[in-house]
């Protein structure tokens, strides 16, 4: 071995050692989550937790995940997020709209920690947002409900009057109206994401008002249980498939698939390419899944719904396509026009035909 070859091999060894070092010596990446309900809600928080487990599976001992459940929206969220940051989590997912300001505040305090906030619209250097186009799923639900309703009344349990929920109500109404001009939609605001007793009462109130479809924007399966008890009332699984209630009352569902997103983002954090972005995935990207349409739905309606799903997925059709007017009768979208994402993300009005006032 001459001197040159010795130097080369030493250098090579050094390079290998240096590049290999972080992978071997680095501690696993700690990833934290906060949930608005219990992981056992079988809906929203359950689905986020399933995605967390999928990410854990994917990366094995390269990451350590933890979560705090039942975090109330408001000041307590700040405490929970701070706790996760102090425990050394380098990537933290805040999974409810109401965590927005708390996440912004805590992200400011921990500039070296990466934050991700679901369904919000405030970003920062270390704060990304991600959301799913749930309204695409609602368009399909509206089509099925509009075709199948006997009473021409569709009930909708709203959680809070925020853009995501308003989009859902509008999308259901527009598509139900398209296939059934006599249809009307009744909205009840529960002012909670998770309160089984209240959700059950809200479902019962809508059923008593003659609704034979009860759509929920809350997280528990209580409305499903109530609809089942009532008999000829149909529902859709919300956030999770809620397949335990199929084929009736649950006739289909909108499933939130967070797993690909969590796997991608955690991977980016691991290899250092993570950037604060705003992601808004839909049926096309696989973030919004449509659960099996059950046999309680007539075959031709099922076919129509699936065709609509394909057109939305391919980008051929946007659920908000003009001509559309606002509730007060003013023009919103001209013939064939579709809204910008920014406008959609801040939707704060009902479309023409939805009865009732949108609480401010």
């Amino acid at each position: 071995m001459n001197r040159r070859s010795f130097l080369t091999s030493t250098a090579a060894t050094a390079v290998v050692a240096a590049s290999g070092l972080p992978a071997r010596a680095a501690d696993p990446l700690k990833v934290g989550f906060i949930y608005v309900g219990p992981v056992g809600d079988m809906g929203w928080s359950y689905q986020h937790d399933q995605a967390r487990l999928a990410a854990q599976q994917e990366y094995g001992d390269r990451i350590v995940t933890s979560y705090i459940e039942n975090v109330p929206e408001g000041p307590d969220a700040e405490r929970a997020l701070t706790q996760l940051a102090l425990q050394g989590n380098q990537l933290i997912f805040a999974t409810s709209f109401g965590f927005m300001d708390a996440t912004v505040n805590v992200a400011k305090k921990f500039p070296n920690v990466k934050f991700e906030h679901a369904t919000g619209y405030k970003q920062a250097e270390n704060l990304a947002t991600y959301d799913a186009r749930f309204y695409e799923g609602r368009a399909i639900q509206g089509t099925i409900a509009g075709r199948m309703t006997k009473t021409n009344k569709i009930g909708y349990i709203g959680s809070f009057p925020i853009p995501e929920v308003v989009q859902g109500i509008n999308a259901v109404y527009i598509h139900a109206k398209k296939v059934n001009p006599d249809v009307e939609i009744k909205v009840v605001w529960a002012y909670t994401w998770f309160d089984p007793a209240k959700e059950a009462d809200a479902a019962a109130a809508l059923i008593a008002e003659g609704c034979d479809f009860v759509l929920q924007h809350t997280d528990s399966t209580a409305p499903q249980a109530k609809a089942q008890e009532a008999g000829n009332v149909f529902t859709f699984g919300q956030a999770s498939d809620m397949i335990a209630f199929a084929p009736k009352p649950r006739v289909s569902s909108t499933i939130d698939h967070w797993d690909p997103y969590y796997i991608k983002r955690i991977g980016e954090a691991l290899d250092g390419t993570w950037k604060p972005e705003a992601t808004w995935g839909g049926i096309g990207t696989g973030m919004v899944g449509i659960g099996e349409i059950s046999d309680a739905v007539p075959a031709e309606v099922k076919e129509e719904a699936l065709a609509l799903k394909d057109r939305i997925a391919s980008g051929e059709y946007h659920p908000f396509t003009g001509p559309l007017k606002k509730q007060d009768g003013s023009e919103w979208l001209a013939e064939g026009a579709t809204p910008e994402d920014g406008e959609l993300a801040g939707m704060n009005f009902f479309v023409e035909g939805v009865s009732g006032e949108l609480p401010k």
């Binding site: 219990p38 039942n70 998770f194 089984p196 007793a197 109130a205 008002e209 399966t221 008890e229 006032e357």
Partner: protein, 310 residues
């Protein structure tokens, strides 16, 4: 019968179902407070009853056994409180709050395997042709048996406190435990019995929530119902018949506001949600005004520990 776009009959029958959990819990707490013990752990006993009732019903397939299990679990929690406050003379307020926190945690632990499980259904009581009577049939004869049990328990509690010797002793213990003790009544035993009754009813109320009103088990599902029950006892100025009014009023507010919304009314939801607590404060003020004229509503020994030697 539809008034102002609202089906009154449906509203009343929904209201009765929505109010039953708090009615049961309030009636139980009222008896405990009449004996002179303030148990702030109602929420904890309710949620323990909810999970125990659910678990029993699912395991055995019998809703009736579920309710028995819920009541027993509530009573067991109350006995824990009784041992701490009556035997070891711990502070009732602090112990009650601890019982609530303990119950919430314990129920979440027990309930994990029961999340997403469906309980066996409890049917309506078959009244035959009676339930076909217009108006009254729907209101009075269209419920499950627990609704009737809750009404019966209010009547029994009222009669017990007003007419029976045992009820008189219980009230004596609550008004002046030293005098009752001097007369030879066993103050601690009476209070333990009253607490157990209170716990059993709170547990029954919780089981009603998880087995009938929702029906499913989810963590933290009582969502403050226990605190409403405590407010109702004060609102009722410690009278069972008024507790019935209070429970139907307070429990009904949720059902009412949702029903109003469904009927298309724009209503101030937040104002209605705080109404029970505002009304309770108003009642407290009124009571203290009456109190100055020499009438007392609260049991005189409420919240005071008893020790035979002191």
């Amino acid at each position: 019968m539809i008034i102002g776009g609202i089906d009154i009959i449906t509203l009343i029958s929904m209201l009765m179902v929505a109010s039953t959990p708090v009615l049961l819990a309030a009636t139980g707490e009222l008896v405990a407070e009449k004996s002179g013990v303030l148990n702030l752990g109602v929420e904890g006993m309710m949620i323990t009853g909810a999970v125990a009732g659910f678990a029993t019903a699912v395991s055995t397939g019998s809703p009736v056994l579920g309710f028995v299990g819920g009541a027993l679990a509530g009573a067991a929690m109350a006995m824990l409180f009784a041992i701490l406050t009556q035997v070891f003379l711990s502070n009732q307020t602090a112990t009650g709050l601890a019982l609530t926190l303990f119950g919430l945690g314990l129920s979440a632990l027990i309930g994990k395997p029961f999340e997403g499980v469906r309980p066996p259904a409890t049917g309506k009581v078959p009244f035959g042709p009676l339930s076909d009577i217009p108006v009254l049939g729907r209101i009075l004869f269209s419920h499950d048996w627990v609704v009737y049990l809750s009404l019966l328990l209010v009547a029994v509690t009222w009669a017990f406190l007003k007419f029976t010797r045992a009820g008189l002793i219980l009230r004596a213990v609550g008004e002046n435990h030293d005098a009752a003790h001097a007369l030879g009544y066993r103050v601690i035993a009476v209070r333990c019995a009253a607490l157990a009754f209170g716990g059993a009813l709170a547990g029954l109320g919780g089981a009603y929530l998880s087995l009938i009103r929702v029906p499913q088990w989810t963590e933290g599902m009582t969502a403050g119902a226990g605190w409403i029950a405590l407010a109702i006892v004060v609102f009722a100025s410690w009278r069972p018949e008024r507790a019935l009014i209070g429970a139907y009023l307070f429990g009904g507010i949720t059902a009412l506001q949702l029903q109003l919304q469904a009927a298309g009314y724009a209503i101030p939801v937040h104002l209605l949600s705080m109404a029970p607590y505002v009304l309770t404060i108003v009642v407290l003020v009124l009571l203290s005004v009456v109190h100055r004229r020499g009438v007392q509503a609260a049991p005189a020994a409420l919240g005071r520990s008893f020790h035979a030697a002191s």
